[in-house]
């Protein structure tokens, strides 16, 4: 969300820098204010992320720290410093910095958020698909052999494209909801109409791109994590050709013998996963048998009901977003956006869609990896901190949940209030006395 908003604010400010028109200054100020609220809540979570591996996953940290720590440290050095320094410069620097440098700082901020996403995804992708390492029998640890392999992991590159475009679409949908709310009321048509035009085009392209990359991501997953793919499809037995299931109901118990209701489209899954109409897609039970031979006895399937449904919610939300944005883009192109009241009304609740897609997407990719913390190397059961008692975990889990819940609720409320408030009627020129007060606390 912050990534996408930062990019959009940077775009607005660039337009203002190029054209000098006041409407773009007001767009920058308004969306900038909203971005800061999301940034405030987002930035404080970075600390937890940097510390949690040692706190909760100390065995994991011992075992793979040689590899996994590097992208995290790089994220700090290259991205967090950039974000946090330039947000300050941008926020308080209006009028103190030349317009060119002030514009550069919002782009530095946007670039920082993307870099940060890249490094953390490289780390996460290594867990999905470990590369560039060897196991040291002496120390019993995984050791890095090639940082380039880790940073150019195919999984990471696909995940990065998928996530960044998804982030742009997410922020875009949220901002479109704000635009729609104001346009329905005929407020500030200049500011919100212009914003909506840019955003509708942006979201259409981003959502489409997310899906295209997601499709290739799926094919990669079929090769790297066939179990995740099979679990996404609730495909228990290897099939050739494999059908794509649209809707399935079964007993929630693990590994059911049959699915009670299963609406399928024949051949589609084969086509999606392997590019061939009759391609073979491996099933959960077969992969389980194969893994038991390879890794010893155990259950190697994730909770299928979770993966199946999260995958469908992700794809479904994404599809609806794309349709809405594409339709809106077409209406806006023909200058009829303001009269499309139904579309505008739909766009407001549609702000929930990207959040559903995001959350279910992450749930899917992380749950789908289970029981592994690192695919094929380390099980989640063995990754935790042996000395941290469950009481401590409960205390901190409740603590963080309350903290994030309260802050999220307050942040959300402020966001809505600021959003309804609309842009300022005037944005003082950058050479005014204390122009930084436009944005700062």
């Amino acid at each position: 969300m912050t990534i996408g908003m930062a990019v959009f604010v940077a775009v607005c400010q660039t337009l203002h820098y190029r054209t000098g028109r006041e409407v773009y200054a007001r767009m920058t100020q308004f969306w900038g204010k909203l971005m800061l609220i999301s940034f405030a809540v987002g930035v404080v979570t970075g600390i937890v992320q940097e510390f949690q591996f040692g706190m909760n996953w100390s065995n994991y940290s011992r075992y793979v720290g040689d590899i996994f720590g590097a992208p995290l440290a790089m994220e700090g050095l290259a991205a967090f410093f950039l974000e946090s320094t330039f947000i300050g410069l941008w926020l308080f620097g209006r009028g103190k910095l030349s317009p060119r440098i002030h514009l550069a700082s919002i782009w530095a901020l946007a670039g920082g958020t993307m870099l940060s996403a890249y490094f953390i995804l490289a780390a996460n992708s290594w867990m999905q698909h470990p590369v560039g390492y060897k196991l040291n029998a002496g120390s019993g640890r995984a050791e890095m052999t090639s940082i380039l392999d880790v940073l150019t992991n195919s999984t990471a590159l696909y995940a990065f494209g998928h996530t960044i475009l998804g982030a742009l679409a997410t922020a875009g949908m949220l901002m479109l909801a704000v635009c729609a709310w104001h346009l329905l009321r005929r407020n500030e048509i200049d500011v919100f109409g212009r914003s909506a035009n840019i955003l509708l085009g942006g979201v259409t392209v981003a959502a489409l791109g997310t899906m295209v990359i997601g499709h290739f991501n799926g094919q990669l997953m079929e090769r790297q994590q066939p179990m995740k793919m099979a679990a996404a499809e609730a495909l228990f037995n290897t099939s050739k050709p494999a059908a794509f299931s649209l809707f399935a109901v079964s007993h929630v118990e693990h590994n059911p013998k049959h699915l009670n209701v299963n609406i399928k489209i024949p051949h589609t899954l084969s086509l999606m996963a392997t590019n061939s109409f009759n391609g073979k897609v491996e099933g959960i039970n077969d992969i389980n048998r194969e893994y038991q031979r390879k890794y010893g006895p155990g259950e190697y399937a994730p909770i299928v009901a979770v993966t199946y449904w999260t995958f469908r919610f992700m794809v479904g939300s994404g599809t609806i977003m794309l349709l809405l944005a594409a339709f809106g883009f077409w209406r806006a192109r023909s200058g009829r956006l303001l009269d499309s009241r139904l579309l505008l009304r739909l766009l407001i609740p549609a702000a929930a869609l990207p959040f559903i897609a995001n959350s279910t997407g992450w749930l899917f990719t992380e749950m789908g990896r289970q029981p592994w913390a690192v695919m094929g190397l380390l099980r989640t059961d063995d990754a935790n901190s042996p000395i941290v008692s469950s009481a401590q975990i409960v205390v901190t889990l409740v603590g963080y949940t309350l903290l994030y819940g309260v802050l999220g609720a307050i942040g959300g409320r402020l966001f809505v209030r600021e959003a309804k408030h609309g842009p300022r009627t005037d944005v003082p020129p950058a050479d005014a006395e204390r122009p930084d007060l436009v944005l700062a606390y």
Binding site: V43, G54, M74, L77, F86, M144, Y441
Partner: protein, 368 residues
């Protein structure tokens, strides 16, 4: 077994990250703690927040990177320390989170209760980490219970021993005094006066705490295999700088600020020198964790060295530049409450009206 050159480099680099964190975030912790004391009206509070507004977030990243670098370079230390100091770290993180959003949320509503809430979040969110970091580091050099598997086997309470608590008092008072000197440099008018008074009161306390901590540290070293000369010299120098800062506090804020920064630097250099060549001292039953045992492979350290050589200078350059951009002093008069664009226009044309509805602060001595 002595650590390899690369391990020494990374020990130094991570030490530098911690030093940067404590010197920089030290004063913004101090400013956060003193907010309600040195600023009484909303414009005053806004001025105080603006002194650290542009930089506190960048200062905090020093901590994130110190954590990330510890993970990359010394994963065993990272795992033992972070899982061992679990609840203490949780408290620190919760405080930093509350503090971080307080900056952004504070100005979003005029309701006095709302503002008071976030001011307290900022005050406590600054004081608690300032205290706990000292407790944590004093314990790291004093030694904590580590078992034969290299796992910490104490509790939060085992950190609250007298030496650890003194360490906490040192960082708490030192950061508060450091923040007061910083405010004396960056503000004008009544805020500056109050900040100078706060610095005069706090710097001697900080100096006394540093002197006591230095003495205890040297005695403790003597009891455990002899005084470590380098570390002892550094903590004594820190105590001297602390005393110097106490003498100049409120008189020459620039000098006092420089000296309190130096006190923090020297004190933590002394702590790191005491620690070397260990990464974490054990009081038993297991052995101390040496840098060598805690470290990543040579390959990883080499990669990280290249990354650090490229990025650290760049980061230092743009952070230093930020401080240069925001060097102007601030006062309450810069921050009359703006309720409407009319106020803003009035300001531009010089006909400012008193838009601030707060009670003026009592100026009689002792009235507080």
């Amino acid at each position: 077994m002595n650590p390899t050159t690369l391990q020494v480099i990374w020990f130094l680099l991570i030490s530098i990250l911690w030093l940067g964190y404590f010197v920089l975030e030290g004063f913004d912790f101090g400013v956060g703690m003193l907010l309600r004391h040195v600023a009484r009206t909303n414009p005053e509070k806004r001025a105080v927040m603006h002194t650290i507004g542009p930089v506190w977030d960048g200062n905090e990243v020093w901590l994130l990177v110190a954590g990330g670098a510890t993970f990359a370079a010394f994963p065993e230390l990272y795992a033992t320390l972070f899982s061992g100091f679990y609840l203490a770290l949780f408290l620190i993180l919760a405080a930093l989170i509350a503090r971080g959003v307080a900056f952004e949320f504070w100005g979003k509503d005029d309701d006095p209760r709302w503002r008071a809430t976030w001011e307290w979040a900022l005050t406590i969110g600054s004081a608690l980490p300032a205290l706990l970091w000292g407790v944590a580091w004093a314990n790291i050099i004093r030694g904590v219970p580590v078992d034969a598997q290299g796992e910490f086997n104490g509790t939060l309470l085992s950190l609250l021993n007298p030496y650890g608590l003194l360490g906490g008092v040192v960082t708490l008072s030192l950061f508060a005094a450091h923040g007061a000197s910083f405010l004396s440099l960056r503000t004008t008018g009544v805020i500056e006066e109050r900040s100078r008074a706060a610095a005069r009161a706090l710097a001697p306390m900080a100096a006394a705490a540093v002197v006591a901590f230095a003495a205890w540290t040297i005695v403790r070293q003597g009891d455990h295999g002899g005084v470590q000369a380098v570390s002892a010299v550094l903590v004594v120098l820190a105590a001297l700088c602390g005393a110097g800062a106490a003498l100049r506090a409120g008189v020459r804020p620039g000098v006092a600020f420089g000296l309190s920064a130096l006190t923090i630097l020297l004190l933590f250099c002394g702590i790191f020198a005491d620690l070397y060549p260990n990464a974490l001292v054990s009081t038993g039953p297991g052995p101390s964790l040496t840098l060598r045992a805690a470290s990543s492979t040579n390959y990883t350290l080499t990669v990280m060295t290249v990354v650090a050589v490229v990025f650290v200078p760049i980061v230092l350059a743009y952070q230093a530049w930020t401080y240069w951009v925001f060097r102007a002093r601030l006062g309450a008069e810069d921050f009359g409450e703006i309720h409407s664009p009319i106020d803003l226009l009035a300001r531009h044309t010089g006909g400012g009206r008193e838009a601030d509805a707060d009670e003026p602060a009592p100026t009689a001595p002792g009235a507080s």
